[in-house]
Amino acid sequence: MATVSKTNGNGHGGAPLTKADFQAPVETRWCPGCGDYAILAAVQGFLPELGIPPERTVFVSGIGCAGRFAYYMNTYGMHGIHGRAPAIATGLVAARPELSVWIVTGDGDALSIGGNHLIHALRRDIPVKILLFNNRIYGLTKGQASPTSELGKVTKSSPFGTVDAPFNPISLALGAGASFVARTLDTDKHHLPAMLRAAAAHPGAALIEIYQNCPVFNDGAFDAMTEKQTRDANVIALEHGQPIRFGAERERGVVRAADGTLAVVAVADAGEDALLVHDAHREDPSLAFALSRLADVAGGVAPIGIFRAAPRESQTAEVAAELASAHRSFADGDLAALLHGSDTWSVGA
């Protein structure tokens, strides 16, 4: 089936963008029940509200199940090589800072083979939105332990249980100086778009860790946070300016001890006034880091929401604009002067 985007030809003709404009005319091929379907639908459903047409949107992905995402978006897209999407996107935005550039990656892609590129993209604070699908397993290669697999996890590559401690992707991103870091859940139809919205509004690099279920190799990894019976007890929803509390009756909360460490307490014991009020905009990332440490991989408790949204002073856009303008105005005469340099001599005919 061929769909023709409204943006073909002479622009949009005034019609508002719809989800269909971002759906590529190809069959989606993830396993039945894969969390990636929900994320794809959420992204395609969200993008129209940005008002940026598909031709000015680019998805760059690496290798892994998540890597296929780029093929399903009716935008410009590049399915790159394992772990290198941030490097490719860095070059792309260096040349074309005006584009809306999204990176789709997974826990193996971003945190194992591509760890170096991820931290440097965050360090540089390049204008890209990074969607890190974390299913805590290697899916495309059929079930090996990933750098986010919980300690002791039994997989094909770790029949006696893993012995390597996992990464906490939020902590890692904050450590790399990320100016925007959030976490959400694949199946949360309201929270996921809200995180996409906030990331899109952020001027620099924005990383969203998306807990994503792999029904084949790591089914139920996030059930504690997504199932009706348990989610209220385990999801610590962070909201800027609000006291941090959770639980079915909002009976639990986060307080900060005198030594700066955070603890989960019963609100009844600590008192409402003692609860930590979330401030995502703090210049200092220490508190965001402390919040990231509340995630308990084994127990299933974890904060979701925006840990940090603190736009950094950046010259990136200015430099790019200055260079683009310099390039446009640098003509043959300027080139001749450059080639000439300062010390020349003449040989007569």
Partner: protein, 611 residues
């Protein structure tokens, strides 16, 4: 009072400055080069330095040298052996004396020949005092003492400043000896030491003291003149090394294509200099990125190319290993991209400051799968400029990554460059795909060259997805179809094989039986060797490759025309294997891996043996 001095005219001279790597020999050589260029001599230079920034002072490992060959006629190499060696310490003497021919002049800094320095250099006895240097003309000059005396009484100039300026004393002396102006160096010093009066004054005083020493003492009684070159093509000239010529070629390619240059690289010897040079060209709109690693640098260049820029990365040996995966992706994506490999001696870290034509086979075959790509090489330092333009032309027209092979020798050596007329440089048409109205866009539809459209983000109607998975022709969708993979393999091969490259030029005597073949930076040496044979009345032929993939269409015919063919290269025999495999001919090989360029005398000998 000046003594009367004789003046002798010579057609060509080779001078080598040698000292400890902290002695400023590269600086002295560079300034001598500028002074020589200003006189209109043809010239070629060969810097040679250790990998250690400061190897233990006074040891053989720490010796740094700079050789310059200048002449009253067109010359093509930095010369084999120097007529004059300046040795600033015993180690410099020991490291270089073996290359001198009988009768050469050695100017030594006598003050540095202390017991301790002699020990460090491994001398049991002072070679200045025994008869080991009898076959040379040795000039003993106490340069430390004379430099210190020259700065005596200057305020704020320390003994240390004085000692550091002794390279300028040596330079001043050589400038007098070869009648080079010092004004060029003085102007350079004033700029370099602006605001640092003490250092400036010390250096100027040392330079002038060196000159005056030559002029007034009786130690050196003949001044040598090398008139301006008489057979250089008319035009405006400047001196460039290969690094500068490459950088300028990239800026020129950007201007003549209208594509913004995005240059990403990771520091590595000797390619880093290219990053330094390009980072200065913000006025030309050059975007440089110092990447987190070699892999990222390649990815950034490719990402920039996807965005419609001129994406370029540069590296050297080990970096090529790391970039291979990304280059393979670029082959699959069929996007224009330039990878510059400033070759150095390998394998592994090898000898990072020594030259080698090490990576031809890697450039050809160093990726998994069937992944052909074009390879261009540069033949002289100045020719790096046009090699870049040729490589970019191929990359853009045929939508392909291109590997440009230069090497450490080209990067660091300099020669006069006749400035091109900018308007006569060929325009490079990026031919970006225009916005599409109605038809579904086919990213892998091919034109007559076999090239696909370059459709850049931002263009309405051309939204498409590309990636490393095999493409369906022409839709660009993922395909595992057997027949499609065969088709795409064939098309990738044919597109590269069909690239238009200039024919192989043969410089042959009518009755020549022997053809010597080279590629890249051996051009000058082979030409010099061929000249010598001709002067001796021996017929000979020479051909030098600029394009290594595809090879020029007339290559087989050229090789078959001669009774004997010798391929000379600085590796273990890479091009010769390619030519044997490609044409099934008996071809001889002269291949060395000694971390140095081929020498004219060595090639003359090899050719004479085969006549």
């Amino acid at each position: 009072m000046a003594v009367a001095k004789g003046i002798e005219e010579r057609e060509r001279v080779i001078v080598r400055f040698a000292g400890d790597s902290g002695d400023g020999m590269q600086l002295a050589g560079g300034r001598f080069t500028d002074a020589t260029a200003s006189l209109g001599n043809d010239l070629a230079t060969l810097p040679n330095f250790p990998a250690e920034i400061r190897a233990p002072a006074g040891t053989l490992a720490g010796v740094s040298s700079f050789q310059i060959h200048f002449a009253a006629r067109d010359i093509v190499t930095p010369g084999d052996t120097p007529n004059v060696l300046v040795a600033m310490n015993p180690a410099a003497l020991k490291a270089n004396v073996g290359e001198l021919e009988r009768g050469a002049t050695i100017i030594v800094n006598e003050d540095a020949f202390t017991v301790r320095n002699l020990q460090k250099a491994g001398y049991d006895a002072n070679p200045l005092d025994d008869d080991s240097l009898n076959s040379f003309i040795v000039r003993r000059i106490p340069m430390n003492t004379l430099t210190q005396r020259a700065v005596e009484g200057m305020e704020e100039v320390t003994t240390r400043d004085a000692l550091r300026a002794k390279n300028l004393f040596a330079l001043g002396l050589l400038c007098w000896l070869y009648d080079r102006p010092t004004a060029v160096t003085e102007a350079w010093l004033e700029k370099k030491f602006a605001g640092r009066t003490a250092s400036l004054e010390a250096n100027l005083a040392a330079l002038r003291a060196g000159w005056s020493f030559g002029e007034t003492t009786e130690l050196i009684d003949v001044q040598i003149r090398v008139p301006a070159a008489h057979d250089m093509e008319p035009g405006i000239y400047r001196t460039v090394n290969g690094t500068t010529a490459t950088a300028l070629g990239l800026v020129a390619a950007s201007v003549r294509s209208g594509l913004q240059l995005v240059f990403a690289s990771y520091p590595i010897t000797p390619a880093s200099e290219l990053l330094h040079e390009l980072a200065r060209h913000r006025k030309a709109g050059v975007r440089t990125i110092q990447a987190e690693d070699e892999i990222a640098a390649a990815g950034m260049a490719l990402g920039a190319a996807f965005g419609g820029a001129l994406g370029v990365t540069a590296t050297s040996g080990p970096g090529m290993d790391l970039k291979a995966e990304t280059v393979g992706l670029a082959v699959m994506l069929e996007l224009p991209m330039l990878i510059i490999d400033v070759q150095r001696a390998g394998p592994s870290t090898g000898m990072p400051t020594k030259t080698e034509q090490s990576d031809l086979l890697m450039a050809l075959y160093g990726r998994h799968g069937e992944s052909p790509l074009p390879i261009v090489c540069a033949t002289t330092p100045a020719q790096c400029f046009s090699a870049v333009l040729d490589a970019v032309r191929i990359a853009v027209r045929y939508r392909t990554p291109v590997i440009l092979l230069t090497d450490l020798f080209l990067a660091n050596s300099s020669e006069p460059w006749r400035l091109p007329d900018v308007e006569l440089l060929a325009r490079i048409d990026p031919a970006l795909a225009p916005a599409n109205g109605h038809e579904p866009f086919e990213p892998y539809a091919r034109n007559a060259d076999g090239a696909r459209p370059w459709a850049v983000p931002g263009t309405p109607g051309l939204e498409h997805r590309i990636g490393g998975i095999e493409k369906s022709q022409p839709s660009g969708g993922i395909s595992y179809e057997p027949a499609n993979h065969q088709l795409m393999t064939d098309q990738r091969r044919e597109r590269i094989a069909g690239i238009e490259v200039a024919p192989l030029v043969v410089d042959a005597d009518d009755d020549a039986d022997l053809l010597v073949v080279g590629w890249g930076s051996s051009f000058g040496t082979l030409r010099a060797a061929v000249r010598r044979l001709r002067q001796g009345g021996h017929p000979i032929a020479h051909a030098q490759f600029h394009n290594l993939n595809p090879l020029p269409a007339n290559t087989g015919e050229v090789l078959a025309r001669f009774k004997r063919v010798l391929v000379a290269e600085m590796n273990d025999g890479q091009l010769v294997r390619v030519l044997r495999a490609e044409y099934g001919l008996h071809i001889e090989s002269y291949a060395i891996t000694q971390g140095r360029p081929l020498l004219a005398a060595e090639m003359e000998r090899e050719l004479l043996e085969r006549l």
